[in-house]
Every structure is written in structure tokens, then in C-alpha cells.
Symmetry: C2
Subunit: 105 residues, 2 copies
């Protein structure tokens, strides 16, 4: 779903990735990481879609909360597996969301 984020400014981490073939435990860990990230103070929401490439955008109240999540122990282990097995390439972009607007029926 579209993340229900608060008034700007807040932060976004855009994670764009290309997967290797096969699951190799990826799906289970991805679900776990999504659950664990929600426990971090400052977590605001997540949006994810995968077609030829995967795009996951997580939203955060501060750069400090992003750093806390990056250094979380289980997440560090997942990052290691990501480089070793799951991804052939990825890019991480840390952004300040300056303005937003929305539409719904």
C-alpha cells in the first residue's frame, strides 16, 4: 500500500535492486526485515514493488533512525547475504523528502 507518511520534511531510503536467480532464503528474510524495521524508533512506512527491478522505499523521521536500522544486527547479517547471494546489483539513495502531495478517489 501507499505509505501513510506525516507532514514533510522526513526521510526516504530508495533501495533499487537486481536479484540473482533462485530464492536462497531471500523471501523469508525480506519479510523478517520488514517486520524488524518497524520496531526501529523513527520508522514511518514502507512501499515495495518488483518487476524487472525491485524498488523498496522506506520512510524515516530522521537520518539517525536510518543509521540505527542500517546497523541493527540482524539487518547487518541480511546485508551480508544480500551482497553474497541475493543481489547482482543494488543502489541505495538516502533522501530528504521536501514536499509531497496526493490524490485518491
Amino acid at each position: 500500500m501507499i505509505a501513510l507518511t506525516p507532514a514533510t520534511p522526513y526521510y526516504a531510503v530508495i533501495f533499487t535492486s537486481l536479484r540473482t536467480d533462485g530464492d536462497h532464503g531471500y523471501s523469508k528474510t525480506a519479510t523478517l526485515m520488514e517486520e524488524l524495521s518497524k520496531e526501529i524508533d523513527g520508522y514511518l512506512g514502507i512501499e515495495s514493488a518488483r518487476a524487472e527491478i525491485g524498488i523498496t522505499v522506506s520512510y524515516w523521521s530522521s537520518l539517525e533512525s536510518i543509521k540505527t536500522w542500517k546497523q541493527q544486527t540482524d539487518h547487518r547479517m541480511a546485508q551480508k547475504k544480500g551482497r553474497e547471494q541475493w543481489y547482482s546489483a543494488f543502489k541505495v539513495r538516502i533522501c530528504k523528502v521536501e514536499r509531497d502531495y496526493e490524490f485518491s478517489i
Copy 2:
């Protein structure tokens, strides 16, 4: 593909959407808009994936280039059709990319 963006800082527009049922000319216009956006001065790249939700992230050198694209005539017509027919909901987030890093095999 993962967009080949320059050194930070640059800008990102995160467009997250929920589609209505049926195509109604959406796919053709989406392809055309992607082509037209590339002609705008300051365009840097685009990444797109759709599963339950669609996420399209376009990258730009400045807020001015984002504004130019938002006001481009064909794009304004597409925005109108988007609200009338193609999307049940969307959110647009304008972001400054402050830091990035990448990995590839």
C-alpha cells in the same frame, strides 16, 4: 534498470500509485511520458516497478527541471487522465538525494 545517476546532491520524484482496472490507454501514454521526460533539461534517469502498487522514481538535477516537467503540456494532459481514469490513488514525493552508494558483482 538501475538509473546511472551522477554524484549527489540531485533530486528524486517518488511516484507511488494504485491503478484502476483496465488499461484505458494507460500503457501507451506511460511509454510516451517516459520518452518525453527524457527530453527535459535536467532529466537524469528513471526506475519503475509495479506489483500490487506501482513505484516510479525519476531523477533530476534541480527542482526547476522537475517543475518544467510537471508543467509540460502533454504531461499535464496525462496528469488529468491519471486523476480521471487511471489511478484510484497516488502520492508524489519530491526529495533531495543527499547520499548514495551501490554494489554490483
